[in-house]
Amino acid sequence: MSLIAKGILQGMAITAKNFIQSYYKKERLPTVQYPEEKSTVNQFTRNIPFLVYDGEDAIDGMRCTACKLCEKACPPQCIYIIKDTDENGKPIKRPEVFDIDSSVCMSCQLCVEVCPFESIRMDSEFELSNENRFEGLLINRDELLKSNEYYHEIHPIEAQDTDDRIAAKIAEAEAKKKAREEKARLAAEAKKADAVMKNAKVAAVTEALAAKAPAAEQIQESEAKTGVIKPEAAALGTTEKSATKAPPPEPVSKDDQASTPQTKESKAPGEDSEPKIF
């Protein structure tokens, strides 16, 4: 230490520089005056979940089908789902009630991981204060629904990945459908050729037996054919309305269904379970 303490004076010079520069340099006064100014939040932060909808209308465009996988996966069990029904009481693939208790949610993101329809995602919204401790923190379906554009704003990389995945799934489904159609068409043609041959054989045999056997066997056969046809025709009718494939010609399809009832029945519910957008 000397009379003029050089180290202390150097320190004082640094603090004076800090003082003066805090008036015009941003990095010398990094304080953000909340709530007038808000700093932007990293796009990988997560707080509570929200539901994504595509397009303009939230209720029509929502991706959630109320499969309840997130409800089962949630560790603190904060999600409560009731499936929606239409006017006749038939269930539709949409939640009527989708409540998340945000005071219970621990932001573990397990609901996001298990969702097969890319519909529940994590939001970065943290200003959730409410005067009511219980009802105020229970968020219902309409408040949870936010558009895909909002998702792109808050988490651009994640939203882009999700969109890419959805597009890939659609493309895969289309390819599978085309492959199936091809196969069906080929099978149909093969069966047709088979059936023609069989019919020819049957006609020949029946002609031969017509002299010996009564006509009641033919009636039984035709009744068996018509009995099998009806429920399958109804099932084929609904699937043909929802799916977008050209219906095969009527007589060939009925014969095919008569000869191969097992495969068609397994296909009908399979086609039925195709989701709407894929």
């Binding site: 230490m1 009379l3 320190g11 004082m12 603090t15 800090n18 003082f19 006064l29 304080t31 005056q33």
Partner: protein, 407 residues
Amino acid sequence: MNNFIDYKLIELGQWAVGLFNDYPVVQILVHLLLATLPLALAFMAAFGFSTWLERKGLARIQNRPGPNRVGIFGLLQPLADGIKMLLKEDIVPDRSDKLFHLLAPVMLMVPAFIAIGFLPLGDGLMSLPLDSAILFFFAVGSLNTIAVFMAGWSSRNKYSLLGGMRAVAQMISYEIPLVLSAVTVIMIAGSLSAQEIVASQQIESWLASGNLVKEFFGQILGWHIFKPWGFAGFIFFFVAALAEANRSPFDLPEADSEIIAGHLTEYSGFKYAIFFMAEYISAFAISGIAVTLFLGGWSGPVIAGLPWFIIKIFSLFAVMIWIRGTLPRLRVDQLMGYAWKFLLPLAILNIFVAGFYYFSEQQFGGLTTFIGGWIIGFAILQTAAKGLSRLNKSPTINGKRVYQLVE
């Protein structure tokens, strides 16, 4: 042109007293009131303003804005703090010495307010124009020590007592360099009166000449800080003043980040506010005396008088805030070592340097003494400082450590 503000204020006071010419008893009371009340109120306002200044200044040094919600730029923050302190519950420990617990803040505040009466605010503007004002100032300033000890003892808390003892030790050990560095000024000025000391810092011959430049510099260059003994004396006085006022880096008794607040532990609410106020006002009083002794009092270039005194006091307070924002706290043994083993020998040496400067001025005249005296005086003091710090260093341990008490 010079000093006209002081003259106007004196005229105002005389007119106000003259209103009661027919009632001599009332006149005496009004005279007393006018001598004390404006000063007390002005310094309490200055205390409020200085808390705001301290918080904003420290905040900007620490890269943050400081209080800015209450009023524009946070200027009403002292008012908010005052209201909060008043509304707090006054907790007194059950088995404490209740009389002294109550009296300690009062005993700290009264000497602070007496001390500001000795300050020469302007030409003829003094509450207590005594012939031995400086002596009275130091005498009154020593009463702070008793008040701190009363606070530490009466709380009946062992940590309070320890903190109080440490504060008392700090205050009495820094009184000696404080007074010794003031002694040099008193010796050279030849008087204990504050007015005389301020007058001795104005170069009379230059002021009487009609030359504007000479008048300008005549007000400045006579200050004691421009002499080597005055420069060193100012440094010692300022450091000792920081320690007397318990300000950083000597604020071990009552620091913000100490878990136990020392002698202030058992005080809450209004009593704490009084302690706080007394500490700040005594800091103002001591910087006022530093201004008087070393920085020329109320003398200044264009308008001499009260404005310059106010500017100087607030500049010294700003330097105190600046030092608080820069330096870490001293440990109590480092603090005591600094006072007794460094400042005290240097202050005594400073007296000899002042004597040498004075007599060589008489022998060789002004300018030669200025140059030669600075060189020789500064060399003496610098060598002594370096030598003392070398002597005071604890021995560095090179090589293998030897433990004396281990077999």
